[in-house]
Symmetry: C2
Amino acid sequence: MKKVLVVGANGQIGKRLVTLIQKSSHLEAKAMIRNREQATFFKNLGVQTVVADLEEGVDTFVKAVADVDAIVFTAGSGGHTGKDKTIMVDLDGAVKTMEAAKSANIRRFVLISSFDTTRESILDANSSFAPYVAVKHYADEWLKGTDLDYTIIHPGVLTNDEGTGQVNVGSKVERGEVPREDIARVILASLENDKTIGKEFQVVGGTKSVKDAVDSV
Amino acid sequence: MKKVLVVGANGQIGKRLVTLIQKSSHLEAKAMIRNREQATFFKNLGVQTVVADLEEGVDTFVKAVADVDAIVFTAGSGGHTGKDKTIMVDLDGAVKTMEAAKSANIRRFVLISSFDTTRESILDANSSFAPYVAVKHYADEWLKGTDLDYTIIHPGVLTNDEGTGQVNVGSKVERGEVPREDIARVILASLENDKTIGKEFQVVGGTKSVKDAVDSV
């Protein structure tokens, strides 16, 4: 039974992902949460929790990742919080988690990014959104510069609609909505499919089953 | 005559550095400025200028660096501007300049950082300053990850006092004041001393001549 640390487990994708992992037959989840008050949801699912703040030192993370086989980083400040948090969570938090992974020799790392983090998209974004895109760009580039077995997932416009299990994926797809539940399914399918290692792809709602879509990247 | 592009030429260190370079016998300056209104100071010194905004695309920079032999990046949003600018100037502006340097095959790159940008200093900083330190940390780390002939200079508390020409340098010196004029001298001395390639060091006011101090790193 492989254990997956979900960083940002209490987030909207995180909770759905932990739930799916627990239902799967050969993976189990470990939820990294910011404080004890967030633990109830996970305890009710029978999921191990570890309390760690992304603004703490790398040592904290090394302990959190110690007994896992893979890491999913789905913490995010969102595009509308202060840029302070964007830097400290989306960039520094992500990089510290990568450093902890390397230090604990956990090779598999799945990063949930934003839809378009290319150099061009930083230029195209308006001045209030560009810094957010830039930070996501650098977190992605940092991961690609490591020798971790990474997958970077770029979701479209996230909704809380019920998942359909049908998506489109690709290196450059048309921007569109995608239910968070389907992103959670894509993450799970990526963890289960080593063809996604060293890849990054966008995901929107579509017409292919998650399994087939992920297998096509 | 080697030509040095000063990015952030209109800044307080930038102006002093351009002036010093013009006085030196074997270097000449090219001032990168944000708009034409900033050109007068440099024209009066007989210095070539190029107008480019750090928030523009890499192409702009490639043109700016085309005819130079070295680049000094001393642009900075300062610790007290919005974090938007910190991301866009101190991180994205710096990395785009590095990318332009690589693309134009300019190997020599001197980056003016802040006093302490270690992982520990991010943790030690208070919550409003930590994001600034983190951004400087990542700009420094990014440069170290390139194969450019870099030097990273970490100045102490900057003052507008007249320079003394006497400094202390080292990988870990006690925090103290240092005149901007002396930092400009240290930059010039670093450009003239290849022993500084691949090095980073802190600089505060001290007791050694700039030349000897820089030669000791």
